[in-house]
Amino acid sequence: MKLFKFIISRIFSSSITLFGLSILIFCMARLIPGDPARMALGDRASLEQVEAMREKLLLNEPIFIQYFSYLKGVFRGDLGYSIFTKKPVTQNIYDFLPATLELLLFAGFFMIVIGVPLGAIAAKNNGKLSDFIIRFFAIFNIVTPAFVIGILLMILFSHNLGWLPIAGRISDPIFPPVRITGLYTLDSLIMLDFKNFIDSLKHILLPSIALSLAGLSQAIRLTRANMLDTLKAPYTEMANAFAFSDKTILFKYALKPALIPTITIIGLDFSAMLGNAFLVEMVFDWPGIAKYGVHSIMNADLNAIVGVVLIIGLMFLVVNILIDILIALINPKVRLG
């Protein structure tokens, strides 16, 4: 019950934050110099056409009326019209979001499935050679420029070695799989289309590795540092004194309490990963929402900008709530205390 109330209150405060964000971005987008209507229509349009467009886009109304009209639209699922792609922003998001989600999922998977165990091993072997080797590969931190890593990987694996494709999500002659989730790898697997699956996998490998590297290093170092603490704790000493059956029990015993501070910080790092996604998508020409966002900014496509920002803000808040729930599950004090 307490957990439920906790989730509700988090959703509530996150909504307020999202609200504040939307106001901030909306106002910023509307207050830039330049005339959005003119930009939409181009230089050749006549003054009357521009004025008509201004009326249509409510640009002559006071800002809060514009905002409320936009808000009404949001609740109807309408995020406005993208000048650049000539399609509704909602449609664009629908088209591009899954690509970014797939990328983030793969990167997150690498981060946790490789990062945490390596950190645990390094902590266990503190001072020995394996510890140093693992730490050497974890010298990258959360601020590692993913785009540089991406370029390096691309040069090495695509160009010099030719093992993996250079860009894009799927090779030209192959059609993307039927859209069930929008995640090419998952959809092709569900449809048992293995050729498609392998191809999608090959395409997603480099960008997701580039994206995960920063978080991966961070996960290794955090897990290691926190486990060094828990390995010295009195309860671990007692477990040692009782020679608890397996080393795996020690790993459960020492690892679980260490996960609490680790996951808290990794949650914060997710924000940096989202930011890095923008760069990685540019490098690998990955048709995701981040690449769409960058193009929107370059083209001053206001509705698209606001839409992308809101989606990113939403994703981030959702992840934060999920992480809080995860911590509540691991840490009984939060659940019951």
Partner: protein
Amino acid sequence: MNSLLSIESLELSFELYKRNLKVLNEINLKLFKGEKIAVVGESGSGKSVMLRIILGILHDKNALIRGKVFFDSIDLRIQKESYMKNHIRGREISMIFQDPMASLNPVFTIRDQITNVIKLKNKNLKKNEIEDIAFEQLKKVSISDIGRVLDSYPFQLSGGMAQRILIIMALMNNPKIVLADEPSTALDVTLQKQALNLMNELTNEIQSAVLLVTHNLGVVREFAERVYVIYRGTIVEEGLIDDIFNNPQHPYTIALLEAVPRLTGNGLPKFDPNPPDYEKIKKFSHPSLSKYYEKYS
């Protein structure tokens, strides 16, 4: 003499920033079957770390250990880690730790943690068998509402209850020796007495020997038959309980006894502002010990 545990010339030093710290200095100690002895000394005297050396769980990289620790004629110091894990720890020799709240893992239930100890005897027990054993053991330490306690996490329990859980975990597998590191120091006086009584009762039942380490002379009086007094890593006096309390010989022991506050008042004891190097004064062994040891030959 057939001692159960025999520590011979044990030395411990640490390599630290700028210096080498000698913590244990030629410790010699014996423990016989079923005996209850105490090692009493102030904080930092090295007594706690000695217990960890016996079990072989002192994992400090900077630690240099010399000497022998004989358990049943086997030198534990030279045994393989697997031997210690499979035969000694938690089975033949177990330990009761100082702070019960800190010694239980905060993110696992009591059931999980007790299960680990139960499984030491038999890895293949089924869930309901384990549950039965857990109930049986917790009853021995007079814990009521056992089901709720098993479901709880350590922070939901009182200090006294956690202490009792620690005691039963140490005694569950019928160890030959129980090492007690300042047990119940973290509790108030009434709980302390209860815990000590419990320990006494249960160890008598299974005939375990107890090596109790403490700074509290009251605890020593209540519990021990024979005492070692330790100061700065050196044993300065050893004797039977009555001899130590009624006829202390070493200046440090005398000072220690003087320091205990007395209900009868009389103000603070007068201490020498420049105390001698206690550890350099020769160790005193009470003569009555030799007669006592004859029992065990």
